[in-house]
């Protein structure tokens, strides 16, 4: 079930999840939409280094620590936007931090999906193209993978509304499925 603007506010008031900072609490104006809340662009842009002589291998145990080494970081401010060139891929994140806690039994858990905004879509800007789900248990700013699909450069400013968050109830507790452990005896399996 997708939460309405008012339901989002009510759930936040009850401590079910948090989105902060938000600009206002009037459900009929920004950042609220009828059944979503708009989020703003943060200040950092990560630009993958071009022509870097590596092939990314996710099996590499240090992959998380390695990815930042093959990216350049650019920090925007009100006077210094980032120019997203056509066909360019960058990684950014939201100004807002979100938290969707795993709650005690009997309490509702929530998750969310990040979606683009029609205004940016008309300009050919993808704000995510593969990883929209904000799972229950996540905490922090939301990472956005962006591509400019238009024929023109596009200016990114910090604080601009960049995406919308659709919040949903999680039915049941987000535990591991029982069959995930059955018959396993190795380090990933049953502990003797």
């Amino acid at each position: 079930m997708i939460l309405s603007n008012q339901a989002i506010l009510d759930a936040m008031d009850q401590g079910a999840f948090s989105i902060a900072p938000i600009e206002g609490r009037d459900p009929s104006s920004a950042p609220f939409n009828a059944s979503a809340i708009d989020l703003r662009l943060g200040t950092e842009v990560l630009i993958p280094k071009k022509n870097y002589p590596v092939a990314i291998d996710l099996r590499n145990p240090g992959i998380a620590g390695f990815l930042h080494q093959i990216s350049d970081r650019f920090t925007m401010n009100d006077h210094q936007p980032f120019t997203l060139e056509k066909n360019e891929f960058v990684v950014t994140n939201t100004l807002e931090r979100v938290s969707f806690p795993i709650r005690e039994e009997g309490q509702q858990c929530y998750s969310a999906r990040v979606e683009g905004k029609s205004s940016l879509a008309r300009c050919g800007i993808l704000v995510h193209f593969t990883a929209p789900t904000i799972h229950a248990g996540f905490e922090g700013p939301i990472t956005l993978e962006m591509i400019n699909m238009s024929a023109h450069s596009f200016l990114l400013f910090p604080g601009m509304y960049i995406c919308q968050l659709i919040i949903e109830e999680v039915r049941g507790l987000p535990i591991a499925a029982p069959n995930q452990f059955s018959g396993q005896t190795g380090p990933a399996g049953i502990v003797p």
Partner: protein, 151 residues
């Protein structure tokens, strides 16, 4: 083509966890007081896998779904300034690698801790949920209950 993404739990590397035992109180009474204090105040619990002591029944009873606990990890710089790259060692020598918000980390380098949620708890073990998916695919880590020491 990527390999098969696993959706299963991993057991923590006991060796990687053992260093936390060094910080344990020598006097068992001190440990008991520590446990009782944590239970009274409702503080966040830290899991220390020492292999030489067990958590009190009182504390174990508090390891319900949604309880926040800490597991040992190694951290390094993340992509964004607000995040860290985290590495969790498994007994097989395999490592889980993921990005998490810095607010979920205590400590630095090889002696850091990551805050996670308990999602399953039994007499034998608990299963914790990582804050985000690892690059290796899993979000769950299993911790033997018999090895728990709570700070």
């Amino acid at each position: 083509m990527f390999g098969v993404i696993r959706e299963r739990a991993h057991a923590l590397d006991m060796d990687a966890c053992a260093r936390y035992a060094d910080a344990m109180p020598e006097n068992p009474e001190d440990q008991q007081q520590s446990d009782e204090s944590a239970a009274k105040t409702g503080e966040k619990l830290e899991i220390r896998l020492a292999g030489k002591a067990t958590a009190s029944a009182q504390i174990r009873a508090r390891l319900t779904k949604g309880t926040k606990v800490w597991i040992p990890c190694k951290v390094s710089e993340g992509m964004f300034s607000n995040e860290s790259a985290v590495e969790i060692s498994l007994p097989s020598g395999e490592k889980l690698s993921l990005y998490v918000d810095k607010s979920l980390i205590q400590g630095t380098g090889d002696n850091a801790k990551l805050r996670v949620y308990v999602v399953e708890s039994s007499d034998k073990e608990i299963t914790v949920l990582l804050p985000s998916e690892s690059f290796q695919g899993s979000r769950w880590v299993r911790v033997p209950q018999s090895e728990l020491v709570l700070a």
